[in-house]
């Protein structure tokens, strides 16, 4: 049974109604039966049909076959062309081909640009009728400060709500002190003339010199603070010679200072001595009484002295009053002066507005050898832009600002990729190859 022959298991079983219906195909039998029944419905149960009634002869012919046969036929045009005429035909180019209106596009770039133009034309909106641009003339054609005659009465508009006029706050008209008191254009001093008087010129030079000296002083001070001071050199020597003991005392260990060492040695350093000292700090009753008595005596003495002073003062009361008067007057005068000085300072305008101070312009002056004799040879000093801008800042119209220079917060880091590790060497090799080739 279990020989070499294996059973075919391809055929599914047909046992049973379900399996039969599933696996057996009886559609053609069914169709045949349907046909017969349909004919029966028309013709009838008993009637027998003849051959002529059941079958017809196709006379028309198959269209597919017809097409196939038509394929083998030569084209009409070829037939016409085969009728070779004695007269030769006119040779013409391809009549259906349109002449090339544009040049052949050779590069991608050209293609793109042409495309763009095409797109632009299609994208551009329909141009409206362009209104003639009337050049607005900047000439003023009316008087701004003209007081017009009383406005005409509006015809009966009391039903409309009255639009409240905008009230200008008082603070808008308040100007800063610098703006009120400082002139917009500073009058120049005598030394600023192109052909100045000697005295005036010297005055101006002195002024410029003072400014420069102040700058130098500031620098000097800074230098002093930053430099290494001479006293520190001595200190270094001292540090090497001194030591700090266990108790926090500074002892100099220099060989020269032997006396100091002796003194130090005399001071009590053992435990017994400290104990003694501590014991000695406890006061006896007698000592307590004594110190109390002394203290009260001192207090009494002080009080007595005070009373004496007061009595003395009463004697010279008048003088004291006068002195006080004078002092008060002096104070008053000083206060007045201070007030005046403050007012003067205010008039000069704020020196610091916001974060930064208003910078000072250097004094424009020409040195004696730079002075020229004629107007033609004059070389102007100073920059008018800077002066105007400085004047604006000085009068506190603008707060002084420093231009923000972009700077890096973190230092740039440089990396080298692995592929470029031997970059230089490769470049050298390439160069050598190129030279060798030559």
């Amino acid at each position: 049974m279990s020989g070499g022959i294996q059973k075919k298991r391809s055929q599914p079983s047909r046992k049973g109604k379900k399996a039969w219906r599933k696996n057996v195909d009886i559609t053609d039998i069914e169709e045949g039966q349907e046909e017969l029944r349909s004919i029966e419905r028309i013709v009838g149960h008993n009637k027998e049909l003849k051959n002529e009634e059941l079958f017809t002869i196709d006379v028309a012919g198959d269209s597919g076959v017809k097409r196939k046969l038509a394929k083998d036929r030569p084209l009409r045009i070829d037939q016409i062309l085969d009728q070779r005429s004695a007269v030769p035909a006119v040779k013409s180019k391809n009549a259906f081909k349109k002449p090339e209106t544009t040049q052949v596009i050779e590069s991608k770039h050209e293609f793109k640009s042409v495309d763009k133009i095409l797109k632009r034309k299609s994208d551009a909106p329909i141009k409206p009728v362009s209104k003639k641009k009337v050049k607005v003339s900047t000439d003023k054609s009316y008087d701004l400060w003209d007081e017009p005659a009383a406005a005409e009465q509006q015809p009966n508009t009391d039903f409309l709500p009255v639009k409240a006029k905008l009230r200008v706050p008082k603070t808008v008209t308040e100007k800063p002190a610098g703006l009120i008191h400082l002139a917009a254009v500073d009058t120049p001093e005598g030394g600023h003339s192109y052909n100045p008087d000697v005295i005036e010129h010297q005055k101006l030079l002195v002024k410029a010199n003072e400014v420069e000296e102040r700058k130098i002083e500031v620098l000097k001070k800074l230098q002093e603070q930053l430099s290494y001071r001479d006293e520190l050199k001595l200190l270094a020597g001292e540090l090497s010679n001194t030591e700090i003991t266990a108790e926090g005392k500074i002892i100099s260990t220099a060989v020269d200072e032997e006396e100091q060492e002796e003194d130090l040695e005399d001071k009590p350093t053992d435990d017994k001595a400290t104990k003694k000292r501590k014991a000695a700090e406890r006061k006896t009753r007698a000592q307590r009484h004594k110190s109390h008595r002394l203290a009260t005596e001192e207090l009494e003495k002080k009080q007595k002295l005070q009373e004496r002073a007061i009595r003395q003062q009463i004697d010279i009361l008048r003088q004291i009053e006068e002195e006080l008067k004078i002092k008060n007057e002096e104070l008053k005068i000083n206060a007045e002066k201070r007030g005046e000085r403050q007012a003067e300072e205010e008039k000069k305008g704020l020196k610091k507005l916001g974060k930064y101070t208003v910078p000072e312009l250097p004094v424009d002056v020409q040195l004696t050898d730079e002075l020229c004799e004629t107007l033609r040879q004059l070389k102007p000093e100073g920059n008018m832009f800077r002066e105007r801008f400085h004047s604006i800042q000085k009068r506190n119209i603008i707060e002084p600002r420093i231009p923000v220079i972009p700077s890096r917060k973190y230092k740039l880091k440089e990396y080298e990729r692995r592929g470029y590790k031997n970059f230089d060497q490769l470049e050298d090799i390439k160069k050598k190859r190129a030279t060798n080739k030559k």
Partner: protein, 502 residues
């Protein structure tokens, strides 16, 4: 008990607002805010107690009044700035796409345009207020009129500056209001008097100015924009006041010379001048009693005489400017004092009369040596004109001969106090020298009028009544004054000695 007030409701904390808070309130960018503040005249303030104003923090910040910022909210310019921002975005987008024709049409049709007329009217409710701020405006305009047009400075801005300057100079020339001139190393300072206001402005020399990097240029441009509008209106009003049409026809480009053929109504002006002169005379005759009144009136009369002298200083005099002299300055100065000017054809267009004209009185030249001198003409250096104007009289031209060392050019703005040494520097005219000589010859009279005697007695009495302290102060003062007077006398003596030596 006093009413409990919450913190931060009253006082410095409620009156001041920091810049950042202001930006948040107004919802504009910092650059726009700064522009708006400059245009509207809102200034940063300094509170007395910064810690209170900043609600406890002492970080440095700029403060503004809260009321000012709230007032700014109503400004129509804010809307214009926002519209411009939107427009700028659209334009940028179109430009980056490369659609240049669309960008051009956008800029022509959709750009928001604003004017500053209402701001000028708000800031200067009356004409005199505007005149007070005119010196800063003029200096700025002069500065920008010489700049080349580039990325930041538009060509039409520069052209408008030049036009406004020419118009203003034309007005000063016509109304003859120039009072003082000073050639300094920085530029030329002018002082004019218009409607009782003294206006001082500075004109840089015509060399190319370079823009320094530490100057914020956008701030300057904002100021320029505002001042252009201001000076435009001021010019209009000034021209109306002297009955001239505005805008006047300007003759040539690049020069500040106005065409003289303008419809001018001068007859009216002359009548008005006469009337004022008569009124002054009448006033004097009626009140001759009070000492003080006549003194001040004399002063006024003297001043008015001085101005009329100045206005007719160069009347009927013809000047010719050499090529090397600064025409822009000298023409203005001479015409403002009534003179007639001409120049070389290579310097400007349409000179009124040529160099060879025989009626020329003065020729202004700056050369070391002058060849081909014409008899009958006085040759002077440019400083002569300025010194004449400052001194209000014709100064000796022989001191200003071409090639010789000029006397020092003194600043007319520095007013010498009493007792100070005035370096006269030989600017006496010929008449003055004679008078000085006469005065020296006169013997000193010991006669004193009654008033003088009385004065002296009053002084003596007061010295006796002084306390010790006051007397000490007084003597110290007198000592100081005496020292000064001694110095002055010494210097004058020296001068006389030098003169006699010469």
């Amino acid at each position: 008990m006093a009413k409990i007030v919450k913190k931060g409701v009253k006082g410095a904390a409620a009156n001041f607002i920091t810049r950042q808070q202001a930006l948040n309130k107004l919802q504009i960018s910092l650059a726009d805010f700064r522009r708006l503040c400059i245009l509207k005249g809102i200034y940063p303030r300094e509170p007395k107690n910064k810690k209170k104003a900043n609600k406890g923090s002492t970080a440095p910040s700029t403060f503004y009044y809260v009321k000012d910022i709230k007032y700014l909210l109503h400004e129509p310019l804010l809307m214009k700035f926002r519209e411009y921002k939107a427009f700028a975005k659209k334009l940028n987008k179109v430009l980056h796409k490369g659609e240049y024709s669309a960008a051009k049409s956008l800029e022509e049709n959709n750009k928001p345009v604003y004017t500053l007329d209402h701001i000028v009217k708000e800031r200067y409710p009356s004409f005199v207020d505007a005149l007070r701020d005119l010196d800063d405006a003029l200096s700025m305009l002069y500065l920008f009129s010489m700049m080349p047009a580039d990325n930041k400075i538009k060509a039409d801005a520069v052209a408008e500056c030049q036009k406004l300057i020419a118009e203003f100079q034309g007005y000063v020339m016509k109304s003859k209001s120039l009072r003082r001139v000073f050639f300094s190393i920085k530029g030329i300072y002018y002082q004019a008097e218009i409607k009782g206001q003294t206006i001082t402005w500075v004109v840089p020399y015509q060399f190319s100015q370079d823009i320094p990097t530490d100057v914020d240029f956008r701030v300057m441009l904002t100021f320029l924009e505002f001042y252009r509008t201001l000076v435009g209106f001021v010019n209009f009003r000034l021209y109306n006041e002297i009955n001239m049409t505005y805008p006047p026809k300007i003759d040539e480009t690049g020069g500040f010379h106005l065409d003289e053929a303008m419809p001018v109504n001068n007859a009216k002006n002359d009548d008005e001048e006469e009337n004022t002169a008569d009124s002054i005379d009448e006033f004097k005759s009626t009140s001759a009693e009070d000492d003080e009144n006549t003194v001040t009136l004399a002063k006024i009369q003297a001043a008015s005489n001085a101005t009329s002298d100045l206005q007719n200083l160069f009347k009927n005099q013809k000047f010719y400017l050499s090529r090397e002299t600064p025409r822009y300055a000298l023409e203005f100065m001479i015409t403002s004092c009534g003179g007639q000017v001409s120049w070389d054809a290579s310097v400007g267009v349409n000179p009124p009369f040529p160099e060879s004209d025989e009626t020329i009185n003065y020729q202004i030249t700056d050369r070391p040596v002058v060849s081909n001198r014409v008899l009958g003409r006085t040759y002077v250096q440019p400083q002569w004109v300025a010194d004449c104007i400052n001194a209000c009289k014709i100064v000796k031209p022989s001191l200003y001969e071409p090639g010789c060392t000029l006397p020092p050019h003194l600043s007319p703005f520095v007013e010498s106090k009493e007792g100070d040494y005035v370096p006269a520097s030989g600017i006496d005219s010929e008449d003055e020298e004679e008078i000085a000589a006469i005065e020296e010859d006169k013997p000193k009279t010991k006669k004193r009028t009654a008033a003088e005697i009385e004065e002296e007695e009053v002084k003596e009495m007061s010295t006796v009544m002084m306390t010790n302290k006051q007397r000490k102060l007084y003597t110290k003062m007198q000592y100081g004054i005496q020292q000064k007077a001694d110095e002055v006398a010494k210097l004058e003596k020296k001068k006389k000695a030098l003169k006699s030596k010469k």
